[in-house]
């Protein structure tokens, strides 16, 4: 082994060098007292571009945008105390959607830990339940092990967020570094148990009314093509969770679109009739299943997941297969018989004809569905779509023609308003050749509005489509439907002038309300380079339908 000359480096310099070695080229964060040594070292890096967020949560979601668009771990930085607490929501969001994130926080010097020092908070303790793993680093040498390990943990198996809390004196501690550790990469996942795959194949072959149920794990595993191949060979009607949208192109003849609370009637009704459910990288989330006892009540279940703790968690699987879903699908494919399943596909087609997804107003760009379709008409599949959380998110999930894995970045598990715009900035930084469209609402946009200035500063190619119904629309809808129309705290009395707000932040903006030809205005806005806010009013009474009432079975949908 060639002898390496040793270098004398501070903990902060070691962190930056390790990030460079990991291939990190863009990260987001906000400096503060306890992380200044790392920022000082970062200032000397010729490789890393630091994006200055205006709120740590925004920085966290920018890193998430990078990670969701690329599938690689991304990094965010924050100082101690409020810097760290502001980051927590973005970390929890990454945990629930299994996004590989490495969060690095500054901490007060070791000697002051536990003394209620200025900007001291127990970041380690706070982050335990919302991270896959976390570290409080005790000396600079340990960074050589901890940083690559954090990347390895974030990327391995079921991905997730890892937090590294580094006291300021550890950042300043100077040590000799002789040899650099290997970069942290995802560990290989053990191959699936062959007998279980064989049993699953036999069940698929024998089933008369099977449905393939794809979750976000299919996207994480890069297994979309394998999933589509399985569906095609075995003639499996296929449903997708919110997180899996794009895994199978929406127009595919076997696609039944999204299942669950805001899925189409025919989708949920087909699930109600299936005799075999093949769950792939999906975790039977309550928004997907509705009342669990009423979910696929006649079906046997094959459950494939990389995380063994997901098997039998909500529904007991007749066959549970732990493994990388891509690898399992590759093994399953040759064991599955080619079938046509004419009777079942005909039954599904008749359900679809009788209970289709209704998209009223699809041809009118001044309605929610029409606006979404008009945006889609201006773009190709290379565009990336992010959303915030609420009615607009569900409308886009229902109506946008998603055809590519990682085309769709949305906060599924945690459902965090304020996710969309900073995530779009991250996605645009990671893949600057793409147009990134963020659909948002007038409630969500205000939760991280400050990142408009970051978008302007970075000149990212992000188009924010603001669907303004002057309300917290999904709350308004639930109060209308389930709380006797007692509308409370969901209608906004004051309304910012969003066009002027955007322009004030340095982001050009247009108002579709005043455009004589909204389609032409959209086309011009979406074909320009750089950030842009596109404001469009929609009616407050518009609802997301159909809707499964919370706690009800999926077949008991309202509307649509």
């Amino acid at each position: 082994m060639p002898k390496q000359t040793s270098e004398t480096l501070s903990g902060a310099q070691i962190v930056v060098r390790l990030l460079e070695r990991q291939g990190v080229r863009t990260l987001a964060g906000i400096p503060g007292g306890a992380i200044l040594p790392i920022y000082d070292a970062l200032s000397q890096s010729a490789l890393i571009h630091h994006v200055l967020a205006r709120h740590e949560q925004g920085g966290g979601f920018m890193a998430q945008g990078i990670a969701r668009a690329t599938g690689m771990p991304a990094v965010c930085l924050a100082s101690s105390g409020p810097g760290a607490t502001n980051l927590l929501t973005a970390i929890a969001d990454a945990k629930l959607d299994s996004i590989p994130l490495v969060a690095i926080t500054g901490q007060v010097p070791r000697a002051m830990i536990g003394s209620d020092a200025f900007q001291e908070v127990d970041t380690y303790g706070l982050s335990i339940p919302i991270t896959k793993h976390n570290f409080l680093v005790n000396c600079a040498e340990d960074l050589l092990e901890v940083v690559p390990r954090a990347f390895r943990i974030a990327a391995s198996g079921r991905p997730g967020p890892v937090l590294i809390d580094i006291p300021k004196d550890v950042q300043n501690q100077v040590v000799e570094v002789g040899e650099w550790p290997a970069v942290g990469v995802a560990e290989l996942v053990p191959a699936p148990v062959a007998e279980r795959v064989a049993v699953a194949a036999a069940m698929i072959n024998e089933a008369s009314r099977p449905i393939l149920y794809l979750g976000g794990g299919v996207v994480h595993s890069g297994a979309s093509a394998a999933a589509v191949a399985l569906a095609e060979k075995a003639a499996l009607p296929t449903v997708m969770t919110l997180m899996a949208l794009g895994a199978m192109p929406v127009e595919h003849s076997l696609s039944l679109g999204m299942l669950g609370m805001h899925g189409a009637r025919f989708t949920n009704l087909a699930l109600d009739e299936c005799d075999l459910l093949i769950a792939v990288g999906a975790r039977f989330d309550d928004r997907a299943t509705g009342k669990v006892a009423g979910f696929c009540p006649q079906a046997k279940i094959v459950h494939i997941d990389i995380d063994p703790s997901e098997l039998d968690k909500i529904k007991t699987a007749h066959v549970g297969i732990a493994g990388d879903v891509g690898a399992v699908l590759q093994t399953l494919l040759p064991a599955v018989e080619a079938q046509q399943r004419l009777a079942w596909l005909a039954r599904v087609a008749s359900l679809k004809a009788a209970h289709p997804l209704r998209l009223p107003g699809i041809d009118d760009p001044r309605t929610p569905y029409g606006l979404i379709r008009a945006v889609a008409d201006c773009l190709d599949d290379q565009a990336t779509i992010t959303t915030d959380v609420g009615q607009h998110q569900m409308w886009v999930a229902q109506a946008y023609p998603l055809r590519r894995p990682r085309q769709w970045l949305t906060s599924g598990g945690l459902g965090t308003m304020g996710f969309g715009m900073p995530a779009a900035i991250g996605a645009a930084l990671a893949e600057p050749e793409r147009t990134v469209v963020c659909f948002t609402g007038d409630g969500s946009i205000l939760m991280n509005i400050q990142e408009l200035v970051t978008a302007a500063e970075e000149k990212v190619n992000v188009k924010i489509v603001l669907m303004n119904n002057s309300s917290l629309g999904l709350v308004f809808q639930q109060q209308t439907m389930f709380y006797g129309e007692r509308i409370y705290a969901s209608k906004f009395k004051g309304m910012p002038d969003f066009v002027r707000v955007a322009e004030g932040f340095g982001v050009p903006a247009i108002d579709l309300d005043t455009a004589s030809d909204p389609r032409a205005a959209l086309a011009a806005a979406l074909s320009s380079r750089g950030p842009m806010l596109i404001h469009a009013s929609i009616a407050m009474h518009e609802q997301v339908l159909p809707m499964v009432p919370p706690g009800a079975a999926n077949k008991d949908m309202i509307g649509g």
């Binding site: 303790g125 335990i128 339940p129 896959k132 793993h133 976390n134 409080l136 943990i153 703790s309 039998d312």
Partner: protein, 102 residues
């Protein structure tokens, strides 16, 4: 603990979990946090380092519950947990300790 509640508790089926873990600050928090977030009471806890002290063994006494399978899987996922073994309530580790709790 009074006699009646002790008798009631003994009527509940118990399980003893044996965990091999790395021995450093925070590991205990990771383990017990999985129980506390699910409002799953841990009836007994015993921890000591093993051998050189690089690892520790944690003994947990918990009530049998339909959530136990999921609990064990969650514990197994922790980075600092090297292995989990399940024993019946007849395991003597906590029985032998009872004299310190009279």
């Amino acid at each position: 603990m009074n006699t009646i509640s002790r008798m009631e508790n003994q009527a509940v089926a118990r399980t003893v979990l044996e965990l091999d873990v790395y021995n450093h600050p925070g590991v205990m928090s990771h383990v017990v946090g999985l129980f506390s977030r699910r409002a799953y009471n841990v009836e007994g806890i015993l921890v000591m380092p093993v051998g050189s002290g690089a690892t520790s063994r944690i003994w947990l006494l918990v009530n049998e519950d339909q959530r136990l399978e999921q609990m064990v899987k969650q514990v197994e996922k922790l980075e600092d947990v090297l292995g989990v073994r399940r024993h019946g309530a007849e395991h003597e580790v906590f029985i032998r300790l009872e004299e310190f709790f009279r």
